[in-house]
Symmetry: C2
Subunit: 303 residues, 2 copies
Amino acid sequence: MSLLVTGSIGIDTIKTPGGIRENCLGGAAVYFSMAASFFSAVRFVGVIGSDCPFDLAEIFAGRGVDLTGLELRAQSKTFRWTGSYHEDMDDRTTESTELNVLAEAPPKVPEAFKDSKFVFLANTAPALQHELLGQVEKPAFVAVDTMDLWIQEYPDDLTALLTKIDCLTINEDEARMLAGRHNLIRAVQKILEMGPGVVIAKKGESGSIMCNAEGDIFILPAFPAADVIDPTGAGDSFAGGFMGYLAQTGRTDFETLKTAVAYGTVVASYSIADFSLDGLTKIIRRNIDNRLAELRKLVKFKL
Amino acid sequence: MSLLVTGSIGIDTIKTPGGIRENCLGGAAVYFSMAASFFSAVRFVGVIGSDCPFDLAEIFAGRGVDLTGLELRAQSKTFRWTGSYHEDMDDRTTESTELNVLAEAPPKVPEAFKDSKFVFLANTAPALQHELLGQVEKPAFVAVDTMDLWIQEYPDDLTALLTKIDCLTINEDEARMLAGRHNLIRAVQKILEMGPGVVIAKKGESGSIMCNAEGDIFILPAFPAADVIDPTGAGDSFAGGFMGYLAQTGRTDFETLKTAVAYGTVVASYSIADFSLDGLTKIIRRNIDNRLAELRKLVKFKL
């Protein structure tokens, strides 16, 4: 089924204890699309400025990513982000952010994309996510990512958005912040009461936990990574694998959601194994399926 | 097969955001024995002073815990610990520690216990653990717990001990400290090189990861707990379930170790659900087996 993503395209500078990569391709919609492309065609909506050095058509060539919704604004500049990771690679400091096009009006969802069934609204101001969602006619499953900034600055916008969506993906600390609960299970339960039928709390190297409004729970560790090179885009890669698999199957029952979380986990493990998109561009679907089987073995025990 | 534990008996005062319990029964050997007793007979070695208000014979009545190795020192006082848990229940502050009998000579392993096959040396100074281990004739599987204090104060003693044992259970932050590695997988690999054939890194509410020297890995989340009342003894309860199941089966192959970790995880989840030993004393083996099946379902996904 059709899969739409709206989100950022970024020019990233990434500093890690192991090295620096300057002015590389990033952005939530880019990571998401690359990850999802192993499973499904992707409809891409995002904005760049005239300074964007990347040819997205070339980067996504042969991957089924429809760039009809990629808007180039000649008078604007592309979103830029510089971040530096701490020694443990789970924490990072944002050194600079230049919103540029992201501070302007959001892009338009092209006519041809308005019938999209699976929709991922990558992290941005919840009012913008709301506006983008309003341009899709009758989506079947809408997932949203958010962050601490919006929880703190625009709680009402976020609360309104939560009543309109099917699934929220959120970092564990942000889940606690949004819910005002220290216990993560309690926090997720509280967010479920706010609207979404499914909540996925992301715990970095400790994996994720998914709960639905019916009380089902699924917990999965991350794939063990001895070499984390660049965690940037891990959450969006996770979302791409997750939504890509759902769009591929066309189903959203809890069993399918569980497998989708596992696929998201595996795709994220490849994403963090190299800088920028390099961890994703050098694998094929068979690598993902093989690692999925490995992951299943890692958590399996006999009664 | 026979299972021996050496470790502390404590008079604990526990402060949590939800309440306070003063002068309650605690100590590593006590939590361990209660947890292991669901699976196997336990041989108990530890010391109390004349001030100990608890009748361990009564507390362990009908549970197959042999207290021949419980030493009462009339001139000494029992170990006391006061700790207060932070809002997140994963971190705690030790408010006071009175070592008392723990600062004296260690207990003797009774003659009748010297042929023990499964041995757990609960957390104490590594030199004492070494001395206790020397009193066991020909153990088949020795597991040890340790903590930051010994890693920092007696690294040589600990390093020497690690060459004599089969399994180390250790908190994730302490594993990083011991190995000098930020990445947990790398840290565990480094500790495996120091001697033990198996290392289990405990991650609190995020579960645990077990690796062996052959490169096998097993990862298991904690059982999701919406109500954590008192995390004291969680690690020792985990170890009790783990070692108890190994002693019950008499096997130590990796498949059996995986199931043992799952049992340890489940027993710990009951331990933290109430103050002191109350979470463990009110359940029966069937509760544990039922929750084990639930845990298996929580992490299971279809390919």
